[in-house]
Amino acid sequence: MVENIFLSSITQLGYILNIIVIPLATIIVGRKLVKEKRTTGRYNAIRGLIFTIFFSFSILVILEFFVNSPVFNLPLLIELFGDGFESFGLNTLIIGIIASLGLTMVATANRWEFLYYTSLFIFGGMILLYIFTGFEALLTPYIYFAGGASIVFLYLTGFRVKDNGALALAIFFTIAFGTVIFDNPMITPFGVIIYDIFILVFSLGLFKPFKKEVMA
């Protein structure tokens, strides 16, 4: 009984932390992006991608909060949000975009020009195929593949080009995907709190294992 109350409280704390920390981190990264644009006259592609990933993640956690909160009763949103990775819903749509942007970031950091938009084209095509034919069998393998590949390549890129952004996203993706894959009431809430803290540290510019950042 006490254990249940504890886990439920931790889970609720995770949801609340999510909707505060992730949008806050997005605003911090967005401000840095605009500030850099004013100074250098152009957007930094890596920072822009990190901002887009955080922004997508903010939307996801806000929607997740409304869907899971016992206070709000929004049946239409619950239906549109979906459950799991097997079918298209707002949940899988945003996760797919985040995973695709992770691969885009890998290509951008490594300057693999012909692969810049490939993951986005693949995911966009999947959405269109679903709209016109109702076929969604590729969704689950794609999310797992893109997520896994993003993590592996972000680590490789992070260490290879000594990029703080890529390494931070690799760690963030590892914890975030880990909490989703090992969906366990004993692990997930702690995972959420850990990545919230990590994201805040990164967005405040305190995560700097490499002194010199990559400019794309």
Partner: protein, 216 residues
């Protein structure tokens, strides 16, 4: 009897294709222009399709063997040609970021064709690829007074028209017109007879007026 007519047209079309390749290769050896090499590769791919078509017309063999769903071999070859065409366009437009797009579009369209028995997506793709390429090449060719670009533009225009109507007699005839237009482009026909050389025209006009004045 109709098949024999198609075979004759196809042989003429193939002959013009070979002459075009020989001419572009000859020009490429002289100036090492990358566009000539790209044209050669594209026309070679087109002629592979032509060889199969000749075999079909000569033997009466039906190429429309269904692979799965509504997808047949003829359509797969069409998709491959449009993929090469779009790649060729992105190469000419120097858009390496879009190099993977044609392959992804083709894959999804083929999957869609398997799932839904409709030719519309293929026709729309063919129209966009054909007319888009034609517009770009003719516009650019006029601006830069490049007869080969005009020839390629006309080739894509007539080829696109043929693919749009999906009527065999029109398709075969327009393909021949397309190849002749391209052949003329490689021979320098458009530079000689279509582009108005203002200086040259004024010289001729000047001589003509001068002659009249002398006569009077």
């Amino acid at each position: 009897m109709a098949e024999f007519g198609f075979l004759v047209v196809e042989i003429i079309y193939f002959t013009f294709g070979i002459l075009t390749i020989l001419k572009t290769m000859k020009n490429w050896k002289l100036n090492k222009n990358r566009m000539l090499l790209a044209v050669t590769v594209y026309i070679s791919a087109v002629l592979v399709r032509s060889i199969i078509d000749m075999g079909v017309y000569a033997s009466g063999f039906d190429i429309d063997i269904t692979v799965a769903g509504g997808l047949n071999i003829g359509m797969i070859m069409g998709f491959i040609l449009f993929t090469i065409q779009l790649e060729f366009m992105f190469y000419l437009m120097d858009l390496p970021k879009l190099y993977t797009l044609p392959v992804i579009i083709t894959t999804y369209l083929m999957m869609g064709r398997i799932l839904v028995d409709s030719s519309m997506p293929f026709i729309i793709y063919a129209m966009i690829t054909g007319y888009g390429s034609a517009f770009f090449l003719i516009k650019d060719g006029r601006k830069s007074r490049n007869g080969l670009a005009i020839g390629m533009g006309l080739f894509f225009l007539f080829w696109g028209l043929g693919s749009t109507f999906q009527i065999e007699i029109l398709f075969v005839s327009l393909r021949l017109v397309a190849m002749i237009a391209l052949f003329l482009g490689t021979k320098g026909f458009y530079e000689k007879y279509v582009f108005v050389n203002v200086e040259e025209e004024q010289k001729i006009m000047g001589t003509w007026i001068a002659k009249l004045v002398v006569k009077e």
